[in-house]
């Protein structure tokens, strides 16, 4: 079994090499590195705009006014408006915005947050806590918060914007690469009819598919190592990064195999492969606009994947997201691989 598997892998590597798969992957990785390092600016943050209206006129209105004025002065995304309706109107036109109205209830200040509706609970909670914190320290003046960074060297408070794009590239290219590339490989072999010759040998379908997925993993590793090293050097958790890329590649490749099994040529399947790629790319919006994370985005496996990759490239100590993502993708990979084996058995029997 292992002899057959390694024989298949060797054949697939040679075939992939002679079909310029390796060259294409290296070229794309270098292009992305070039874009990240030389085209995208280091500072270009996409934060939600915050629109506030101070309706409260009680005894603490001066303190509140100071807090908000200072925030507005130090953050370009905080803006004062003149009414609650104005906030709602602005928010309807700009989905990357939230609103805040400070009004009086029983002569005490009360903060009303106006959300778009698709922000996740974590974002809402963080915002409320930060507001409470700020007000408490202003009113009482006795709250001091100290933050101790246990792993100071790994903590990166501000990731340059250009480098922060790298996790998206890694989630899209090396990890999801298999979705498109494996289909191209399969159709090439379908065209040659070699799968028929394989089918009348003692070789098994799982070995055949595993070998194709192995090639995709190797290509994913090459792309990951080149791009990560040229962007962040040695400052990444390479072991976990490669594990994430591996399980992600298995899932995407197995999915590509399943889609390819329903069609006779690449042009027939391309619509579905592109549709799957687009669907899996949607969570990238939440990467840049974290406040936009509705349920239909969070259920997509690429949503945690991008954050797990970011954690592996820019470690902050939150290893939980890495392990949970690896576990999720391991389960998804096993399921999709089993489905791919069934799809190929059915497809070969049908042909």
């Amino acid at each position: 079994m292992l002899r057959r598997y390694f024989g298949l892998v060797k054949k697939d590597i040679i075939t992939g090499f002679r079909n310029y798969f390796f060259l294409a992957v290296i070229f794309v990785a270098l292009v992305f590195v070039g874009i990240i390092n030389f085209v995208i600016p280091e500072n270009a943050e996409i934060k939600p705009n915050v629109y506030y209206y101070l309706e409260y006129e009680g005894e603490n209105s001066n303190i509140l006014g100071d807090v908000l004025d200072q925030s507005e002065a130090s953050h370009s995304n905080i803006h004062s408006v003149t009414s609650r309706d104005e906030i709602v109107n602005i928010m309807e036109e700009n989905f990357n915005s939230i609103g805040m109205v400070i009004k009086a209830v029983d002569n005490k200040p009360m903060v009303e947050f106006i959300m778009q509706g698709y922000e996740n609970q974590e974002v809402v909670n963080t915002l409320i806590l930060s507001m409470k914190d700020d007000l408490n320290s202003r009113i009482r003046g006795d709250i001091e918060i100290e933050t101790l960074w246990l792993t100071e060297e790994s903590y990166q408070e501000n990731i340059p914007f250009n480098k922060s794009v790298l996790p998206i590239f890694l989630a899209m290219e090396p990890t999801m690469l298999g979705l498109v590339m494996i289909a191209a490989f399969i159709f090439m072999e379908k065209d040659e009819g070699t799968i028929k010759a394989y089918k009348v040998s003692p070789g098994k379908i799982p070995e055949y598919l595993a070998s194709k997925i192995t090639l995709m993993i190797i290509l994913g590793w090459i792309s990951t190592i080149i791009s990560t090293f040229l962007v962040v050097g040695f400052n990444a958790d390479y072991l976990n990064l490669l594990i994430i890329v591996t399980v992600g590649s298995i899932f995407a490749s197995a999915l590509g195999l399943i889609i390819a099994s329903f069609f006779d040529n690449i042009s027939q399947s391309m619509v579905w492969i592109l549709a799957a790629s687009i669907i899996f790319s949607v969570p990238f919006i939440s990467y840049f606009v974290p406040s936009f994370a509705p349920l239909y985005i969070r259920v997509l496996p690429t949503y945690p994947l991008q954050f797990a990759i970011r954690e592996a490239i820019f470690p902050s100590g939150n290893t939980q997201i890495i392990y949970s993502t690896i576990l999720t993708f391991t389960i998804l990979s096993i399921i999709s691989f089993i489905l791919a084996v069934f799809a190929y058995r059915r497809n070969l029997a049908r042909n």
Partner: protein, 284 residues
């Protein structure tokens, strides 16, 4: 070695059968030919036997292994030479064989030896994508011998080959058969079937019309003819005369006695003529 009983197959999963009630037995060391025109059901039967098509109805076993649940041992036992070349175009001829060799868990042949046998030694390291159709056909034929098959499925093995190469391929087939290999030969070429097969099955519209040896078929269905050229009124005339028909016999005697015959050849019926007689259609 091969036992097929009441085999049916429908591509549309209904009663529109591509093969219908096919039954035959092939003994060890026999060369069994499946002769029929395109679309008769030859390839469907072979594809069911080698596991490329599902066995829907009926029973079939190869070397004692039930093909309904084909095991690894079954595929170690068989070799398949496909009609349409299906090799990895980006690999060389040698790489193709070396790869295929690793798929088997039985003793395998030396790849270079096989390439030499089919005359591809000098092109061993050339990418198969650059091979001519005939070279690809020979590569597929060589590949089918890599595991020293005990049962060898050959689908149109000489199709697209020049007469010299075809003759070499036929020699290899005979040699393998002499060594004890059982051969299932699918073809619409009556000459190769006549030359190589111990028994022949005529298949037409999915059904086996008859099974017999080429000699018996000729004796049973053929007509003994003599083809002659003779001189009459200073002109050369050609005629085929039956050796059974009294009129023809008298005419032949007369021509011999008068010394008018220029050339004379005995002529037996071809398998194609017999096929037409049995099925009412040609082999093309």
């Amino acid at each position: 070695m091969i036992n097929v009983k009441n085999l049916y197959h429908s591509y549309t999963n209904d009663e529109n059968y591509a093969v219908e009630d096919i039954s035959f037995k092939i003994e060890q060391g026999e060369v069994f030919g499946f002769l029929g025109p395109s679309g008769a059901g030859k390839s469907t039967t072979q594809q069911i036997l080698i596991g490329l098509l599902a066995l829907q109805q009926g029973e079939a076993s190869i070397g004692g292994y039930d093909i309904k649940k084909p095991k690894e041992e079954l595929f170690n036992l068989i070799g398949v030479s496909f009609e349409h070349p299906n090799v990895y175009k980006k690999l060389s001829g040698l790489e193709n064989l070396e790869f295929y060799k690793k798929m088997f868990s039985v003793e395998t042949e030396d790849s270079m030896k096989l390439l030499r046998m089919v005359g591809l030694e000098s092109a061993a390291n050339k990418k198969a994508g650059g091979y001519s159709k005939g070279m690809l056909q020979r590569l597929v034929f060589a590949r089918s011998m890599i595991n020293n098959p005990k049962i060898w499925f050959l689908d149109e093995p000489t199709s697209g080959l020049d007469p010299n190469t075809a003759s070499e391929i036929k020699k290899i087939i005979r040699k393998k058969n002499d060594e004890g290999t059982t051969i299932f030969l699918t073809t619409h070429n009556m000459y190769i079937a006549d030359e190589l097969c111990d028994r022949i099955a005529f298949i037409n519209e999915g059904k086996i019309e008859l099974i017999d040896s080429p000699r018996n078929l000729k004796l049973k269905y053929g007509e003994k003819l003599v083809k002659i050229e003779y001189k009459e009124n200073e002109k050369i005339k050609k005629e085929s005369l039956s050796m059974i028909n009294d009129e023809d016999k008298k005419k032949l005697n007369k021509l011999i006695n008068e010394g008018k015959i220029e050339t004379m050849h005995s002529q037996e019926a071809t398998l194609e003529e017999i096929f037409i007689k049995v099925t009412g259609r040609g082999l093309k």
